[in-house]
């Protein structure tokens, strides 16, 4: 499974559906999700602004990863899942019957906890999605691949080994390669599910700085168990508990003066 599930050109409807600066790009409206009879997400409503980093935090099982996966319909791949409510990206409900899911996943890329580069060269990892999107000329591919590797702060480390196996890179480098691969096809949104939890502090710091650089161009939603990481990189934070959205607000406020006692208890480490 690639981080970013590619394909097809943007349909006319979606290509014109971009939120204006400052407006919410993602609108989650009264979303509930059921695994069979079990209600894992309970009437979540949330608006995520464009080109900001939003962190989803909460104890294990609170639904944060489930909600993240709703944003590019990754839960469609799980049997027995039912979703009520609407999730609009750029004003269009991604759960409408006529939505091309592959196209959606091109617009909404994903980076997972464990880096998973293709067992190919560094170059081919980034080239793969580009070729699927019709970029054929070597000069075009070279230029775009360098651009993506630079944007993911990996170029200087791999420019002399572009045709070596990506599996020979360190864990942190592999994760940055996965980010380069994700941004190659220019998504609007990047979902990150604990992207640095398996990395050492140095590699984690590089990923965090990279996320802060990337938000100039992309809207980023990240799930993390690391409170300090959420504080370091996010502009907005949403706290979830047993499938409910307990509190959502500016990260500075959530970590210094949360409105809800459950948020205070969680960020203070009293439970979770």
């Amino acid at each position: 499974m690639a981080e970013i599930l590619t394909p097809k050109l943007t349909p006319p409807e979606a290509s014109t559906a971009t939120a204006s600066i400052g407006a919410p790009l993602i609108e989650i409206e009264d979303v509930s999700l059921y695994y069979g009879a079990s209600k894992a997400l309970k009437n979540i409503s949330l608006k995520l602004d464009e080109k900001v980093v939003t962190a989803f935090i909460g104890p294990s099982g609170c639904g944060k990863s489930t909600l993240l996966r709703c944003l590019n319909r990754m839960n469609d791949l799980i049997d027995n899942v039912r979703i009520d409510g609407a999730i609009k990206i750029g004003g269009h409900n991604i759960y409408d019957g006529n939505v091309d899911v592959i196209e959606l996943r091109k617009r909404v890329g994903m980076v997972f906890q464990k880096s998973n580069p293709f067992p190919k060269s560094v170059y081919e990892n980034v080239a793969y999605g580009l070729r699927l999107h019709g970029v054929k000329a070597k000069s075009d591919l070279d230029a775009r691949i360098e651009e993506c590797l630079r944007a993911s702060a990996l170029w200087d480390e791999v420019k002399d080994r572009l045709h070596s196996s990506a599996l020979g890179l360190s864990g942190g480098q592999q994760q940055r390669l996965c980010i380069a691969r994700a941004i190659a096809i220019k998504p609007e949104v990047i979902l990150m599910d604990e992207p640095a939890s398996a990395l050492d502090p140095i590699a984690t710091a590089r990923i965090e700085d990279l996320i802060l650089d990337l938000k100039k161009e992309f809207t980023i939603v990240i799930v993390t168990h690391n409170m300090q990481q959420a504080a370091r990189i996010s502009d907005q934070t949403a706290f979830f508990y047993i499938g409910e959205l307990v509190e959502f607000g500016a990260t500075g406020k959530i970590f210094t003066n949360p409105s809800q006692k459950r948020t205070e208890d969680y960020v203070s480490g009293r439970f979770g």
Binding site: A153, A205, R206, E208, D209, L210, L212, D213, Q228, A231, R232, I233, G252, F255, T256
Partner: protein
């Protein structure tokens, strides 16, 4: 790739330096307004104090935001020290305002006919403040330690000025209110030196992670 956390830390340092520069100027102006009987300069010091107060609030806000991001080691010490130094600078600003207020009142009355070593005391206090701030800028613990040892000198000068003023008041009851203004101004200079000492102690902690407060370092002439 930009190191965003380090950018935040650099921003904190920069804000602290801006505040230090405003504070140093206020102390300078307050002393000048007192020694040169400059009424309008004394009024300006009060207005400048608002700028210093705002700096303190901004530094605290930024420091709290940085603390949520879990700074460690030198960065952790810098953030905590920044909050303490900004508080000392704010209080130095208040002392400068007090001096300016006395300067304003004294400028409206005839000079007291007494020789006071106040310019020397003011010079020492200001030198201590400058040296403590330089030690912060240059991350220089030995220089900070040297500042701490100078506090005794300012204390002694204050004591001498206090005694001279008491003696003058006994012989010149009509000058009591003016002498009290000078006494308060001298006490403010002594407090400025105390705050400079606090800043120097914080610089030692910042540089060496060693807390030298209340260890007898000053009373034992730096031997502790």
């Amino acid at each position: 790739m930009e190191n965003h956390f380090e950018t935040g830390i650099a921003n904190l340092r920069q804000k602290l330096l801006v505040m230090a520069s405003h504070t140093e100027k206020s102390v300078n102006d307050a002393i000048q307004s007192l020694t040169q009987r400059d009424h309008s300069l004394a009024l300006r010091v009060k207005a400048d104090d608002d700028v210093i107060d705002r700096c303190e609030v901004e530094i605290d806000e930024l420091a709290i935001q940085l603390l949520t991001k879990a700074p460690l080691a030198t960065n952790l010490r810098l953030v905590t020290v920044a909050m303490k130094i900004s508080q000392d600078l704010e209080r130095i600003g208040d002392e400068a305002s007090k001096i300016a207020k006395r300067a304003r009142d004294l400028s409206q009355e005839p000079p007291v006919k007494i020789h006071l070593d106040l310019p020397r005391m003011a010079g020492r206090a200001l030198e201590m403040l400058k040296a403590a701030l330089d030690a912060f800028v240059h991350h220089d613990a030995p220089a900070a330690r040297a500042v701490i040892l100078r506090d005794k000198e300012v204390d002694a000068l204050n004591k001498d000025i206090h005694a001279a003023l008491v003696e003058h008041m006994v012989g010149n009851p009509e000058a009591i209110s003016r002498c009290l203004h000078w006494m308060v101004a001298a006490k403010s200079l002594e407090r400025i030196a105390d705050h400079a000492t606090n800043i120097a102690e914080d610089v030692v902690y910042l540089c060496e992670a060693q807390d030298i407060r209340h260890t007898g370092f000053k009373s034992q002439g730096g031997a502790a």
